[in-house]
């Protein structure tokens, strides 16, 4: 949903006015709502930034418990909304070559209070997440959306995209973490585990393997969606 290039013209007939007052705005609203839903669902699943765009993989690959995943998801949400909103309004005011630095500076400015907030909600989380928390300030998912998507789209589309991408990212983070925690401990609880410590499936290689299978699942769903109805899609 890109910014409109020119305002819609108004011809002043009564019929046109009636149509505008009743049908067109309703249709427009419905269309806009559908479009926003599509943007949101693209972020959650069909164009999931982690599984399709391979963005922001560092927290995903290193996250091994549900508690860590929830903490990182919280940080992702708290950082990405203000960064994208600010870039939506100011992105076009700065030259293209300054914009990446501008987006990163906003992300950095938001990161400091966000990490303090997270630490008050989940005591000791900043300590246990360590570098993974610090690197959320330069998360490629947040910065690429802020650089490329937010300045070219209207506010509601930016919010739908940000929420969709954050929810999609959080879902993948939590799913991966639950699987790893369950295999390691036999159950899933709110364990605090320092990142970058552990053996076997808590190592990044296992994160990549899970991610590969999840990405294959999304690719299969997208293939099925792109096929015309009634036509059989080959199995995996």
């Amino acid at each position: 949903m890109e910014r409109p290039s020119a305002p819609v013209k108004n011809n002043g007939t009564k019929a046109a006015k009636t149509a505008k007052a009743t049908k067109i705005p309703y249709r427009e609203r419905q269309k806009k709502r559908r479009e926003l839903r599509r943007i949101f669902l693209n972020g959650v699943l069909f164009k999931n930034p982690m599984l399709v765009g391979a963005l922001g993989m560092f927290p995903l690959v290193t996250c091994t418990t549900l508690k860590n995943a929830l903490e990182l998801s919280f940080l992702l949400l708290v950082i990405s909304i203000p960064v994208n909103v600010v870039l939506c309004y100011t992105g076009n005011l700065v030259p293209g070559w300054v914009r990446p630095a501008w987006a990163t500076a906003i992300s950095l400015a938001v990161y400091a209070p966000a990490s303090i907030w997270m630490d008050s909600l989940f005591p000791g989380s900043v300590q246990s997440l360590g570098m993974a928390a610090a690197l959320m300030a330069v998360n490629s998912m947040v910065l690429s959306r802020a650089n490329e998507y937010a300045p070219a789209h209207i506010f509601s589309a930016v919010i739908a995209d940000t929420l969709g991408c954050t929810l999609g990212g959080a879902m993948v983070l939590c799913l991966t973490a639950v699987l790893r925690e369950w295999i390691t401990y036999g159950d899933v609880g709110m364990r605090t585990m320092t990142l970058f410590r552990g053996k076997g499936i808590s190592l990044p290689f296992f994160g990549f393997l899970i991610l590969g299978f999840l990405a294959a699942g999304v690719q299969h769903i997208n293939r099925r969606r792109s096929q015309p109805k009634g036509k059989k899609v080959n199995r995996l």
Partner: protein, 200 residues
């Protein structure tokens, strides 16, 4: 000659360190997304890697210089990252402004990879920024060169992975990124060997 005998082994040691045990790209997946994007543009890869090396050198030097002031700040982990990232951004803006003004031809060639290189430097240099910050000049040069080389090597491996993953015999659902991720997962195990049983 004796100076050369002292600093050359240091440079080589830190190049190898950045390339293997401290390489965050495969041992911890840091900077992976940008490396994957770089791998999709092989024509720009050499320039990208050189820029990562240059930004690493400046950032590491700046970090060594700023460290005595940073250690006294409250919440040292967050404030250290914030100050160094801020310094890196200023460095990027200064370098970009100078290039645009005095070498527009070079800027045009490197514009697409200039800001990713600057930001990725922070990610790739993070293990260093977290732990050391007391390197001598030869060690800093070695670490920066090693970081650039590690990035180049990583992106080359990813490029190969993507090409192989797009082979016509690959099952449709796995073609491209999914198969590349599985390939990289197995490759990570090899890098795990360099780290001696820990990662990052």
């Amino acid at each position: 000659m004796s100076d050369f005998g002292t600093w050359f082994p240091q440079i080589i040691t830190y190049v190898l360190l950045a390339l293997s045990g401290e390489s965050i790209l495969f041992s911890g997946a840091g900077g992976f997304s940008r490396a994957l994007r770089a791998a999709r543009r092989p024509a720009l890869l050499r320039r990208y890697s050189v820029l990562v090396g240059c930004f690493s050198l400046f950032t590491i030097s700046l970090s060594c210089w700023l460290d005595p002031w940073l250690s006294g700040l409250p919440r040292p982990t967050e404030s250290r990252v914030a100050v160094i990232l801020g310094a890196d951004l200023l460095l990027y803006l200064l370098a970009a402004w100078l290039l645009r003004r005095f070498c527009p031809g070079f800027w045009e060639k490197t514009e697409k990879v200039f800001s990713p290189a600057a930001i990725n430097t922070i990610v790739l240099a993070m293990p260093f920024l977290q732990r050391y910050l007391k390197l001598t000049w030869p060690q800093a040069i070695g670490y920066a060169v090693g970081t650039g080389l590690a990035f180049w090597l990583g992106a080359q491996l990813l490029n190969t992975a993507l090409r192989r993953a797009s082979h016509k015999e690959t099952p449709a659902a796995y073609k491209g990124l999914p198969a590349a991720l599985l390939y990289i997962g197995i490759l990570c195990l090899a890098f795990y060997g360099f780290t001696g049983g820990r990662f990052i």
